[in-house]
């Protein structure tokens, strides 16, 4: 089924739907960055906020960022995969509606109800507020996440339906035969299809387990005698959380596969190594989550050892296939750098560089002295702020047909890069001297790092504001551009 036929079946303009996703994501991203800045300023003792307010903002920042990471990267995935498989714009928009309902429930839980159990809602903390939030506030948060999860589940199921109708099986769409040399790579699926297949496999599993532990938590809120093994709940929460946030990077990297070749005038090589990397990543993302549980000595030792070994193995596809592929597409290609190409290139750099502190912390002997220090937000902000967000901003910029000499966009780009680098280095440095994460109140020796982080965050916010504003300024161009046939 061609895209033209699919579009004709619905009155909703698919391009407008994608822009709707990106517009919501851009605004929420900036608001969540401001909440994050507030946290760093409070830790730096440059502003004073009561601890309960800090922890509520921390909860909102985490949930909001994870939410729009999913939303914006799903827009990237859907925009490109619909060139190859039939998908439903109605389901795509349903996800957005569910997201907005969930967002309202989550924001209400926090800003009205004072809910502050962290976005990870670690069982049984939502039910033990110490008097700070009501059971109903906690339930509102958990229900909000359920809504968001159901929306994404519907989206991934619809894409799966489209993929199966063209490729006949998930293995074929993933390029399994090509990965193992059993079929010619030339006959393999396009990168957007392979990536979308990997993500729907991991996210459907992750969301189902997340939904289960959310329901457990909801029942426990209203029926305290209904208890649940806390370690089992923790496994489910971290499986869901790890898979979902990693999936956002695997969705947004599609922007790199599709955009960089346009400007470099070179195709992205989908050879056996490419397909093998995606097959392995599917397995690794599902099995590595125990690296969040390395300090849970009650876990079976083999599971934690696997968490370490698979953490190390996970770096190989990222560095040796995606990063390597990016570098070989660009080198001596004649590419004239424009802000969109520079952003997706930065995104791959951020993802690759973030692998280093991630693997370090995934090593048990290191985790023993660095778990839950600021090394953790240090590494994941490299992946997300300088990786996934850069890829999404690159996609947003690409839609507005950027020119190499867009002066103001370059100002935004470099402020974002410089600010982001200062921001993440401050976290890593602090983690190396054992500053804990998730502390509302800091002591004097930690303040210089908090202040460095605050300055970095401020610069990054100005940079992102410029880039998002340019997207809105160019929204008519983005809406009217024709999809390639």
């Amino acid at each position: 089924m061609t895209m033209a036929v699919a579009a004709g079946r619905t009155a909703i303009n698919p391009r407008a739907a994608v822009i709707g996703y990106l517009a919501v994501s851009g605004i929420v991203l900036l608001l969540m960055m401001l909440l994050g800045l507030m946290m760093r300023l409070a830790q730096a003792q440059w502003i004073a906020v009561p601890p309960n307010f800090f922890y509520m903002v921390m909860t909102m920042h985490g949930a909001g960022m994870v939410g729009i990471a999913g939303l914006s990267s799903a827009a990237v995935m859907w925009h490109f995969v619909r060139r190859y498989v039939p998908v439903s714009t109605a389901v795509f928009l349903t996800n957005l509606v569910f997201f907005l309902i969930g967002a309202v429930l989550i924001l209400g839980a926090g800003f009205i109800g004072g809910f502050g159990a962290a976005w990870t809602f670690l069982f049984p903390l939502p039910a033990h507020s110490g008097g700070l939030w009501s059971v109903n506030a906690a339930a509102s948060y958990l229900f909000g996440l359920v809504f968001i999860g159901v929306g994404f589940l519907l989206l991934h199921l619809d894409i799966a339906r489209g993929i199966l109708s063209v490729y006949g099986g998930l293995g074929a769409a993933l390029g399994v035969k090509q990965a193992f040399g059993l079929a010619d790579a030339k006959d393999g699926p396009p990168p957007a299809v392979t990536a979308s297949t990997m993500v729907l496999i991991v996210n459907i599993l992750g969301i189902l387990l997340g939904a289960a532990v959310l329901v457990v938590s909801l029942v426990n809120l209203y029926v305290p005698s209904f208890t649940f093994n806390a370690l089992a709940a923790k496994n489910m929460i971290f499986f869901f959380g790890h898979v979902f946030i990693n999936a956002t990077i695997y969705m947004s990297v599609i922007a790199v596969y599709e955009i960089l070749p346009v400007y470099a005038h070179r195709p992205w090589k989908t050879n056996w190594a490419f397909y093998l990397a995606w097959v392995l990543s599917t397995v690794f993302v599902l099995t590595v989550y125990t690296h969040h549980l390395l300090m849970d000595f009650a876990m079976p030792t083999w599971a934690l050892v696997a968490g370490q070994v698979i953490s190390w193995l996970s770096g190989l596809p990222v560095l040796l296939v995606t990063a390597f592929g990016t570098l070989t597409v660009v080198y001596r290609s004649g590419l004239r750098w424009n802000p969109a190409a520079a952003l997706v290139f930065l995104g791959v750099a951020g993802w690759s560089i973030g692998v280093i502190p991630a693997i370090a912390d995934g090593t048990i002997a290191v985790n023993s002295v660095m778990h839950n220090t600021q090394w953790v937000p240090g590494h994941f902000h490299i992946y997300l702020l300088l990786g996934m967000v850069a890829m999404v901003l690159g996609f947003m910029t690409y839609l507005t047909n950027p020119q190499p000499r867009s002066g103001f966009a370059w100002t935004g780009y470099w402020l974002y890069v410089a600010g982001g680098v200062i921001f993440v280095l401050a976290f890593l440095l602090a983690g190396s001297i054992s500053v804990p994460r998730r502390y509302a109140v800091h002591i004097a020796p930690w303040l210089p790092y908090d202040r460095m982080g605050s300055i970095g965050a401020s610069l990054a916010i100005v940079g992102v504001l410029i880039l998002v504003a340019r997207f809105f300024a160019g929204i008519r161009t983005a809406a009217s551009a024709k999809d390639p046939s």
């Binding site: 050892v305 070994v309 190989l316 290609s333 004649g334 998730r438 502390y439």
Partner: protein, 177 residues
């Protein structure tokens, strides 16, 4: 300390990767007409990089997996007799008994919680973490640590547990032999 090595190695590797990206970005132009030989050379470099990565992976994992902190309390040998310590977390305080030791003594912390998930992090007198484990409801995690320096150690909570998470601190005093 491990943290300093990790920071040093990380910043060197991250910086090197960043430089590679910057160099390739600056070498995007001019275009090369016949790209085939360059790509072949790149694939050959990749084989070497894969080999190096594998050596680093096997070496580091072999070494560090021999230093796991997971203790089977029943496997305690008389030569390394440890002093059992009850470390109980609750919102928002620690109860640690006993809390005084001598240099050279090995403490065997039995860590648990009365309510939500907490994190037991042992900070040395220089305020750097030397050992950690989680405090889980319904479980007791066993953490062994041998005190090699005298002074005041602190226990901080390193798993977010509510509004006074940052204030959950206890002290352990270690005196000379």
């Amino acid at each position: 300390m491990i943290q300093d090595t990790v920071w040093g190695v990380s910043i060197v590797l991250m910086g090197a990767l960043a430089l590679v990206f910057v160099w390739v970005a600056s070498a995007a132009k001019p275009a090369v007409a016949n790209y085939g030989p360059i790509v072949d050379a790149a694939y050959r470099i990749r084989v070497w990089l894969f080999g190096l990565a594998l050596i680093a992976l096997i070496g580091t994992n072999y070494k560090t997996l021999g230093e796991l902190p997971y203790v089977n309390a029943l496997a305690q040998s008389p030569a390394t007799a440890a002093q059992p310590v009850q470390a109980v977390a609750e919102q928002w305080a620690w109860t640690i008994t006993p809390s005084t030791f001598k240099v050279g003594q090995t403490a065997e912390f039995h860590v648990t919680t009365k309510d939500v998930n907490h994190g037991f992090a042992l900070y040395d007198p220089d305020f750097r973490i030397v050992a950690e484990t989680q405090a889980m409801p319904g479980y007791t995690n066993v953490l062994r640590y041998t005190f090699s320096k005298p002074g005041t150690y602190k226990v901080l909570c390193l798993e977010y547990c509510g509004v006074a998470h940052h204030a959950m601190m206890a002290e352990i005093k270690v005196t000379d032999r």
